[in-house]
Symmetry: C2
Subunit: 327 residues, 2 copies
Amino acid sequence: MSYVSVEKPNILLLAGGVGGAKMAEGLAAIEGITLSILGNIADDQIFHGLWVSPDIDTLTYSLSGLVNRDQGWGLANEGSRALDMLKQLGNDTWMFLGDRDFGLHIHRSNRLKQGYSRSQITSEIAHALGIGTPLILPTDDVVQTRLKTKDGWILFQDYFVRQKCAPEVLDIHFEGADQAHPTSKALKAISEADLIIIAPSNPILSIAPILSIPGIRDALTASKATILALSPLIGGKPVKGPADKVMKAMGLEASATGIARYYRDLIDQIVIDHQDQASKAEIEAMGLVCSLDDILMCTRQDKIRLAHALLANHAAFNGFSCPEAAQ
Amino acid sequence: MSYVSVEKPNILLLAGGVGGAKMAEGLAAIEGITLSILGNIADDQIFHGLWVSPDIDTLTYSLSGLVNRDQGWGLANEGSRALDMLKQLGNDTWMFLGDRDFGLHIHRSNRLKQGYSRSQITSEIAHALGIGTPLILPTDDVVQTRLKTKDGWILFQDYFVRQKCAPEVLDIHFEGADQAHPTSKALKAISEADLIIIAPSNPILSIAPILSIPGIRDALTASKATILALSPLIGGKPVKGPADKVMKAMGLEASATGIARYYRDLIDQIVIDHQDQASKAEIEAMGLVCSLDDILMCTRQDKIRLAHALLANHAAFNGFSCPEAAQ
């Protein structure tokens, strides 16, 4: 099954971690489109001297099929021997890093030391693992999300993994963002896109850091593409992660309406879950096209079905011809 | 069982890899002595951006009991997931590095980056793994063995592991040795030793690099200690490794006599294998005390028995009292 139009449409997905990776998998399975993915690098953090890039790795592992399907991140068939040794040697090991995963972090860190850019390294890893979809970074500079808690500023993984999202978030800062330069690949992908999809990722912790890179938001605003966001909430709750908590902490309403309001200056359309249909009228009143769908992606079929539905919506909106039904 | 003298004797072992580690284990099991070990760092090499120290690690793994007993190096209960990933990502993986082993290399490399010295890191690892015997480095500077082959100069692990000791060795150089500074711990251990044992390690590739550090050989010469070498050859052949090949390449006779001749300016005594008894008279003619023993150490009992025998010899030579029999 493929989407046919005058041109093979260019689809760009803005993606965070697990939710973004699931959407990426769905879209990558569809023929007749040219897919690119713009990932989040602001939850990168150094562990044991190695550069770890959790969101990009989740995308990489998902698209290569190596991902641990039960947890949605990390690798299947993992071991913990390296981490066990690090623990025995007195290191903090609250961040789980498996042995195969360590192999990748060792490789990335070594390539960084050799002078390769994060973009180059990401592309070469994707290629080595058989991924055909371009995995694009918004910047090759270091941008790191910091969250202010009552005990001070902490890095994202400290908040997310070590403290299990327990501390109240008082403020959020994307350190390094104001000095960062967008990659030319990111700007090109945005300008060439026919449809830009914002994955059902945490808007504040996964998508906002991408938008924070100077030039990225402007390029999106200037783009001729339809921009469509998927709500990461179902019945006002995130499938995974602290989106609702963090939205409330930032003074936003943790609802489909709140998501639409957050993105309203950027997007044309939003797809929200059936459970949030009460928000539809309110969202449409903002001037956005709002569709209802089943957002939850458990199986591969779910991911592909949702991807088809998004493209069908888009095709209708833009006059593309497209197959009548998802598989 | 313990050796009793006026003072608890200080024993210093100069050790390379597998042979040195076996001797270290034997000596470490004996009560009534104070053992220190001076290890070889010249076969250190960077792999995948991580600092790997094979001889020191073999000592560490052996003394902690974590060693893979079947091979005499590396760790028991190892995995190869990290290395498999590195291979999948396009890296040369001829040097086997297990997952637990990677944990240690990651730790060491991170500590180096944090500014700790190789000595400090070695000590802290030994402590974390429950090793009571001080593991001393001859220098904290980088000294690396390079071997000249017809294709140019290569590092030790390239020769030993990648090329399986196949190339003819035309010359050997301990790069960095002339600029290196001995550690104060090494000099102190030498000056305080009552007995210095040169392990049955490769004299040219394991012991000579230690002796090449400025100040180390002078300290040994100035030491009041008896210096005793164990021949690494049995019937003129090494138990493991290329000692005979390298000795011949360096114009030395690959025999117990050749070993004695190589060490003669440094040592007082040498212990050679029963199979090499034909060399005894020749060695004694050099003015060295020469004893015959079974050099081969397969079991833990073998290691302890040989250690006892060395100390008994030494006690006899120096008038220490000692137990009548090894266990």
